[in-house]
Amino acid sequence: MAEQDSTPRDTHRQDPHRQDSHPRKASPDAKGRPDGQAPADGVVLTEEQRRRRRSRSVAIAVVLGALCVLFYIVTIVKLGPAVLIRPL
C-alpha cells in the first residue's frame, strides 16, 4: 500500500511543468517529514490564532482607511481654497 501511495507523488515531482490546482499538497514538506506524513491542509490555525489574526487584519484595515482619509485631507489643505477658483 505504501508503495502505491507514493508512486503518483514521485511522478508528479519529476514533472516541474505540470499544472496543479493544489500545489501545497504536492510540494515537498518544508520541515523534512517523510512522504505521506505531511499535513494535507498545511498549517492549521487554532481558534485563538484565527481570532487574533482577524483582529490584526481589522486593525490594519482601519489604519489603512485612516491613512487614505488623512492623505486626502492633507492634499486638499495643500492645494488650498484657490483650487476651486478656476475656469471651467
Binding site: Q49, R56, L70, I73, V74, V77, K78
Partner: protein
C-alpha cells in the same frame, strides 16, 4: 549584529509559545511594542514645540506632524524591544513585554518597527517638510542604534548620551511648524536632555539588581549608589536653572518663571534627599519620590509653556506677563 534567532528568551514568565509558528500576537501586543506611555510624553513635548514655533501652521499639517512623530517614537520603541528582548526577559520591570513573553516574535517586532520608522519619516517628509523628517529619522536612528545597540550595554553614560533621543521631539515639532531650528527649541531639547539622567538614575538606584542581572552597566551597577547619588545632584543643579532659562531669556512669561522656580526647588530638594538618605527603606522611598516627581516636573514645565503658547489672559498681558 547579534543573531536574534539564537537568543535564549525566558518564556517561563508568560505562556510558552513557539517563536517560529503562526503568530499569537494580538493588536494590544503591537500597541505595547510602541511603548504608549513613552509615546504620550513624546507627543506632549512635540506638541509644545509645534505650538511655540514662530509662524502659522495649518491644524491638519500640525496633526500630521504630531502623528508622524508619535509613530516614529513608537517605531523606535519597537526596535528597542526587538533588540533588548534578551535583557528584558531577565528584568522584573520588562519581562512581560510582548517579545520576551513570546507573544510577538523578534522578526515581527523588527518588521513592525522598521515599517513604521520608514513610513513615519516618509510621510513627514512628503506632507510636512524635509528638515523635520530628517530630524525624526536621526532621532529613530539615535535611539535604536546609538543608544539601544551600542551605548546601553557598553557604558554607564548610556542614558546621558542616549537621553538625546528623548529630547529631540520638541525640536522635531518646532522644525515641522517653522521649517527651522530656533534657540527656544534648543533650550527645550536641553531641558529634557539634562532631566533624563536624574530621572533614570533615580529609577536605577532601586532597580540596580535588575540591571546587574541583565548585565546592563547602569551607573549604580558600575560606580555604585553613592556616585550615582552625587551625579543625580549635579545634574539636578544644572537642570533647575536651565529649566528656568526660557523665562530669563524672555521666551516665556512670569507664570512659567514662577512655576519652574517652585517645581525646580522641589526637584532639587528631592535630589538632596536622595543624596543624604543612603540606607534602607527611606533611601528607596526617596528614590521613588524623585523618580515620580521628575515626571510631574517635566510635564508641568511643558504644560505651562503649552498654556502660554495657546493663550495669555488679557489681565496677565496687561501686567506685562
Amino acid at each position: 549584529m547579534t543573531d536574534v534567532a539564537s537568543r535564549d528568551y525566558d518564556l517561563t514568565a508568560a505562556e510558552e509559545r513557539p517563536l517560529d509558528g503562526p503568530s499569537y500576537a494580538s493588536v494590544s501586543d503591537y500597541v505595547a511594542l510602541l511603548k504608549p506611555r513613552v509615546m504620550s510624553l513624546v507627543v506632549f513635548t512635540a506638541l509644545v514645540g509645534i505650538l511655540r514655533a514662530p509662524g502659522e501652521v495649518h491644524p491638519v499639517i500640525a496633526f500630521t506632524a504630531l502623528l508622524c512623530i508619535a509613530i516614529g517614537a513608537g517605531a523606535s520603541g519597537a526596535l528597542n524591544m526587538w533588540w533588548d528582548a534578551d535583557i528584558d526577559a531577565v528584568m522584573s520591570r520588562t519581562k512581560r513585554r510582548p517579545v520576551p513573553a513570546g507573544r510577538v516574535t523578534p522578526g515581527e517586532a523588527l518588521a513592525f518597527g522598521m515599517t513604521l520608522s520608514v513610513g513615519s519619516v516618509l510621510v513627514l517628509g512628503l506632507l510636512v517638510n524635509v528638515l523635520s523628517a530628517a530630524l525624526l529619522a536621526f532621532t529613530i536612528f539615535f535611539y535604536a542604534v546609538i543608544y539601544t545597540m551600542w551605548l546601553k550595554r557598553s557604558t554607564p553614560q548610556n542614558i546621558v548620551i542616549g537621553g538625546a533621543a528623548g529630547a529631540f521631539p520638541p525640536m522635531v515639532g518646532w522644525a515641522a511648524a517653522s521649517g527651522g531650528i530656533g534657540l527656544e527649541s534648543v533650550i527645550l531639547f536641553l531641558i529634557i536632555f539634562f532631566w533624563t539622567p536624574p530621572h533614570f538614575w533615580a529609577l536605577s538606584l532601586y532597580k540596580a539588581d535588575d540591571y546587574a542581572r541583565a548585565g546592563v552597566p547602569m551607573l549604580p551597577v558600575v560606580s555604585g549608589p553613592d556616585e550615582t547619588r552625587r551625579q543625580i545632584l549635579l545634574y539636578t543643579l544644572l537642570l533647575v536653572p536651565l529649566a528656568m532659562s526660557p523665562w530669563f531669556l524672555g521666551m516665556a512669561g512670569l507664570a512659567y518663571g514662577v512655576v519652574s522656580g517652585v517645581t525646580g526647588a522641589m526637584m532639587l530638594a528631592l535630589a538632596v534627599k536622595v543624596y543624604r538618605l543612603r540606607e534602607g527603606a527611606p533611601a528607596i522611598k526617596a528614590c521613588k519620590q524623585l523618580f515620580g516627581f521628575s515626571i510631574l516636573y517635566l510635564f508641568t514645565l511643558f504644560a505651562v509653556l503649552l498654556v502660554e503658547a495657546l493663550h495669555v489672559p488679557s489681565w496677565l498681558s496687561g501686567l506685562g506677563i
